[in-house]
């Protein structure tokens, strides 16, 4: 219980630090400007304005939050190590698992709050244009968060062994794109033999299938690729497993 409380304290403080960061505010302002600029695309789409504004807005929300997620998770722990603020935390009765969990939880909370704010901006745009949000809107936003949480978890793990924040961002960005290519990988695997087939099948084991959470790309009438129980379990696994591997690296890290 005390470890959980400690993790919550670390998470609360980290969330506040992110919230006060000027990059956070800049991202939100940038997001607001871009979301409203999707008005132009909506006008060009004429009678498909609702669909186009919705799609542009959701895509921008996802990409902007992705950029922040990658930058923040690449530097969450490494920055504390570089500035030595971590000394003042780990020299206290703060277990390393609790610290790591707190930092990760803070990032997930920051992403959720960013998406919430951007969704409000986006919905205000739809309201101004007299358009109703699509039935799958909330689900799309929630699933965007799921995708970002997965990649954040992976990026935190990568940051603990990569040589720089830039390389962490690059590797995580590659993982993001590969995660959307699972259908294509499956197609290629079915047509490949030998080493290529083995490589593709192996990749399918270790790369997160982000298409499972790509509700934004599906119409409301299309059934989800997997049931809610599987998706919840898959998400949980992709948050927990990188965390556990991060812990293996972090527990013996010296400062």
């Amino acid at each position: 219980m005390s470890h959980l409380l400690t993790a919550l304290k670390v998470a609360g403080h980290s969330f506040a630090e992110n919230y006060r960061s000027r990059f956070f505010a800049l991202f939100l302002v940038f997001a607001g400007v871009l979301i409203y600029s999707s008005l132009l695309a909506g006008v060009m789409a004429v009678d498909e304005e609702a669909r186009v504004i919705t799609d542009f807005g959701l895509a921008l929300m996802e990409l902007i939050t992705l950029a922040y997620a990658l930058m923040a998770s690449a530097s969450a722990i490494t920055r504390e190590m570089e500035t030595k603020t971590i000394y003042l935390v780990l020299s206290r009765p703060v277990s390393r698992p609790a610290y790591l969990a707190g930092r990760a939880a803070a990032l997930y909370a920051v992403l959720a709050s960013m998406l919430a704010v951007m969704a409000l901006i986006h919905l205000s745009l739809l309201w101004v244009r007299g358009l109703a949000p699509a039935p799958m809107y909330l689900k799309a936003v929630a699933f965007i968060w799921c995708k970002l949480a997965v990649i954040t978890s992976a990026a935190l793990f990568i940051s603990l062994f990569s040589t720089s924040a830039v390389s962490t961002v690059v590797i995580a960005a590659i993982l993001w794109t590969l995660g959307h290519f699972t259908a294509e990988a499956r197609f290629l695997a079915s047509r490949s033999t030998g080493a290529a087939a083995v490589l593709l099948s192996t990749a399918s084991l270790v790369i997160p299938d982000l298409q499972l959470f790509n509700a934004r790309d599906l119409a409301s009438s299309v059934p989800a690729p997997a049931g809610p129980a599987f998706l919840a379990a898959y998400l949980l696994l992709w948050l927990v497993v990188p965390y556990l591997f991060s812990l293996l690296l972090f527990r013996k890290k010296e400062f």
Binding site: A16, S91, F255
Partner: protein, 255 residues
């Protein structure tokens, strides 16, 4: 080592090396060579040595930030990474750094919370300590606005806010003006007067002379000499003379 019941910090044949990646392999750089000493309750002990002698390494080992290659370390009879031990230790790293967007009060509240304080007791201790280190006029300023001296005061504040039994202070007067140095010296004496054990390192021989009951002299990772107060007080060259002779005459030898 006698393993005394009133031993607060015990190092026994501690070796520590660092790995430095090079072009043709990894170089092993010894930082500590078989260091053994014991701190007893209520004493003020100093650690003196040239840059790279191993002072900071010892302090980080005592706080669980580093792990020994061999040998043993115990804090209040427990491993340094034990949460019960950490609860009783206050650590001031060299050149402490704080979260730039947090105020002094917020930072202290955070660290006090991590050390197990809460509620009214936390509020009381934070107010007391801010007053004690002379930061009351600056409590609501952000750390990014702090001068070096104010950072150092805040560093000491976070080290003592949870009323620890053992203070490990790495260069506590580094970068301070003479008035601030006086204030910190008085504070350390008061803390020792209330029963705290103080272990401090410094480049300032005069500060160690004024504060310490005994001083450990480190040369190239080895504890070569332990000097009692009566010894340097009766020596014509004082602690400085003893130190210079030790460094010039010795290398790794006996205590």
């Amino acid at each position: 080592m006698t393993g005394r019941e009133d031993a607060v910090l015990t190092l026994s044949e501690v070796h520590k090396s660092y790995r430095a990646p090079g072009l043709f392999g990894t170089a092993v750089i010894p930082a500590l060579r078989g260091v053994s000493f014991e701190l007893v309750r209520g004493e003020v002990a100093g650690l003196l040595g040239l840059n790279g002698a191993g002072k900071t390494t010892i302090m980080k080992l005592a706080t669980g930030l580093l792990f020994p290659g061999s040998g043993s370390i115990s804090v209040f009879g427990m491993p340094p990474s034990d949460m019960r031990a950490k609860k009783r230790v206050g650590y001031l790293p060299e050149l402490p750094y704080f979260y730039p967007a947090s105020t002094a009060a917020e930072s202290l509240r955070y660290y006090a919370g991590l050390s197990g304080l809460g509620g009214a007791e936390l509020d009381r201790r934070v107010s007391e300590v801010i007053e004690k280190v002379g930061l009351s006029p600056h409590a609501r300023k952000k750390a990014s606005e702090f001068s070096k001296g104010m950072m150092q005061r805040l560093g000491i504040a976070q080290a003592v806010v949870h009323d620890p039994d053992l203070l490990i202070l790495d260069e506590p007067v580094s970068g301070l003006d003479p008035l601030a140095i006086h204030d910190i010296r008085v504070l350390i004496s008061e803390l020792n007067g209330s029963g705290k054990t103080v272990f401090l390192s410094s480049h300032s021989i005069s500060e160690l002379e004024k504060l310490s009951g005994r001083v450990f002299i480190m040369v190239q990772g080895a504890l070569v000499r332990t000097v009692e107060r009566r010894e340097w007080e009766s020596s014509s060259g004082g602690l400085e003379g003893i130190f210079v002779n030790t460094v010039k005459g010795g290398g790794p030898g006996g205590a």
